[in-house]
């Protein structure tokens, strides 16, 4: 079968480093077939996944059928979507028709297969993308490490004995390894931004309520967000734009117009008021985590540091609500099948069941207060810069690290800088920066509510200037 039309012309788009935009342009333009792109992705998954353990399911037959349908549509003269032929994979808490939605757990994989895809899977495929599988994740998304006792840890493609970060660890590994150019994950307290940081890739956590969560397994309804990972800011924008829109199947989706970000990506950052988050966001971080923020700040001319009052309380509040809401979701499973949980997840959920309503209500009241404080702050600034993680990727199995001279547990504290932001649902682009020859870290580019376009413009500019980059790992 002659899958690629011209081997020389197609070598680039069939490689691990091809971006979604490059693939879509080549498929739409007839330079390469969608089938050839999908076959190349499936071959990479077969070759690389034994090393990085990103995939829990590969939907090869479905992907090939979908690719062939795209190629047939093009042959018939039909216009293809903006993600034509782009292989993508999703964290295994997204429903994939025909597969049980395991959500990283032993328990849920025994459930009947999903009968319909998650809304965001449907929307990406409507834009021409091709689903190739489900991805490893921390159990029930209560995780920042990317480790999983049932499926094994996803491994950092840039250093296989290090964490990917979680809970969307498989998403991070699949992108950084070059298995696929586009993946989806979820972010309740940092699970898109933490893997983006540890794996050195771009990630977008949109505004709470922007993208539908319909037919994905929940964790904390007040904080759950879904969003894309990619190796370029433009790919994030393409995917994000394809996924926007109302959805009656998710009551949290806001009555917000579709606001494409891709068209404004190249507008530059002139006129944007960019500041560095100070105070809380400059403490308990390794020097390199602050160095990458400073490098970005210098590149964009941000000289102001703005304290974020209440950030520690915001994190504490997120911690309480997460424990309580997560526990409520799992109460009956904890009664009937406690031995089938990851112990690190189970014991936190048991503790969460004991939380009095007075504590969660106090946290929700503080949430309203903190939101008001942050909206006032955004009257004088357009973008805030903050570290995504306090450190580079810890080693797999590492239980503690030392921050500011204090020994702290790794698992909760990888989300030290992400939790206060998702607590009030602000949009964030995680932008990967390599401070030296070691492992990368990401910077959170934080925008006001509904201004994902601003965060993506800054991410794009940083990438264009060579400050941010997401190279495929050498494996």
């Amino acid at each position: 079968m002659n899958l690629a039309l011209d081997p020389k012309a197609t070598a680039g788009v069939l490689s691990a480093s091809a971006t979604a935009a490059e693939i879509a342009a080549a498929v739409a333009g007839g330079t390469v077939t969608a089938r050839a792109v999908v076959e190349a992705a499936l071959a990479r998954i077969a070759a690389l996944d034994p090393k990085v353990n990103a995939f829990t399911d590969v939907t090869a037959a479905r992907a090939r059928a979908r690719a062939d349908a795209l190629d047939a549509a093009r042959a018939n003269g039909e216009a293809l979507g903006p993600l034509a032929g782009v292989p993508f994979a999703v964290k295994n808490l997204f429903d994939i028709a025909g597969l049980p939605t395991r959500a990283g757990s032993k328990i849920n994989r025994e459930l009947p297969p999903a009968t319909r895809d998650a809304t965001l899977v449907e929307r990406l495929e409507a834009a021409g993308a091709v689903l190739v599988g489900g991805l490893n994740m921390g159990e029930y998304a209560y995780d920042f490490t990317g480790e999983n006792v049932h499926d094994g840890a996803s491994r950092n493609p840039h250093a296989l004995d290090h964490m990917t970060g979680g809970s969307s660890g498989g998403s991070g590994a699949a992108i950084a390894s070059g298995e696929v150019p586009l993946a989806l994950g979820s972010d309740t307290n940092g699970s898109i931004r933490v893997p983006s940081s540890l794996c050195g890739i771009f990630g977008l956590k949109p505004t709470y309520g922007r993208l539908s969560r319909a037919r994905s397994f929940p964790f904390v309804c007040a904080f759950d967000h879904l969003g894309p990972f990619a190796r370029s800011a433009a790919d994030l924008a393409l995917a994000y734009d394809a996924m926007q829109g109302a959805d009656g199947d998710d009551p949290a989706v806001a009555d917000q117009p579709v606001e494409p970000a891709f068209p404004s990506l190249k507008q530059g950052i002139g006129g944007l008021r960019i500041a560095v988050a100070g105070g809380y966001f400059r403490q308990r971080a390794m020097p390199e985590a602050l160095a990458v923020v400073d490098k970005v700040a210098q590149a964009v001319g941000a000289t102001r540091a703005i304290d974020i009052p209440g950030a520690a309380r915001a994190r504490a509040s997120a911690y309480i609500i997460t424990a309580a809401d997560g526990a409520a979701l799992h109460a009956e499973r904890l009664r009937t099948r406690p031995q089938d949980y990851d112990p690190a997840v189970r014991d936190r959920l048991i503790a969460g069941l004991a939380i009095p309503a007075a504590w969660t209500t106090a946290a929700q009241r503080f949430r309203r207060h903190f939101r008001a404080q942050m909206l006032a702050l955004f009257e004088n600034v357009d973008i805030l810069l903050a570290p995504a993680t306090p450190t580079r990727a810890p080693k797999l199995g590492q239980k503690t690290f030392v921050l500011d001279g204090i020994t702290l547990p790794v698992r909760p504290n990888l989300g030290l800088f992400t939790q206060p932001i998702s607590f009030i649902g602000l949009p964030v682009a995680a932008v990967p920066v390599w401070p030296d020859d070691g492992l990368p870290l990401a910077v959170q580019v934080i925008a006001p509510p509904w201004r994902e376009d601003l965060a993506l413009r800054v991410a794009y500019e940083l990438e264009a200037r060579g400050i941010a980059r997401a190279p495929v790992a050498s494996l």
């Binding site: 424990a323 904890l334 014991d347 503790a351 004991a354 009241r365 309203r368």
Partner: protein, 71 residues
């Protein structure tokens, strides 16, 4: 009094946390191993300390929680 105001909330005692956890285990009919209880108690202490920090800011009586139901 104008709000918000910092205030001191007494820390929850270890004994009180044990009572809360054991009552929860009983109320939810959980069957747990002793070491699970130990780990859960460690986590409940972290949560209680977080709640103490949050409740240490008095927002007044008329401040709605964030998730307000809209029919």
């Amino acid at each position: 009094m104008s709000h918000p105001v910092e205030r001191t909330i007494p820390a929850v005692s270890d004994g009180a946390l044990e009572l809360m956890l054991d009552g929860t285990i009983e109320a939810f009919a959980l069957k747990i191993e002793p070491d699970w209880r130990t780990e859960a108690l460690v986590n409940l202490r972290l949560i209680a300390d977080a709640a103490n920090l949050v409740r240490g800011l008095d927002l007044g009586d008329e401040f709605d929680p964030a998730p307000v139901y809209r029919p």
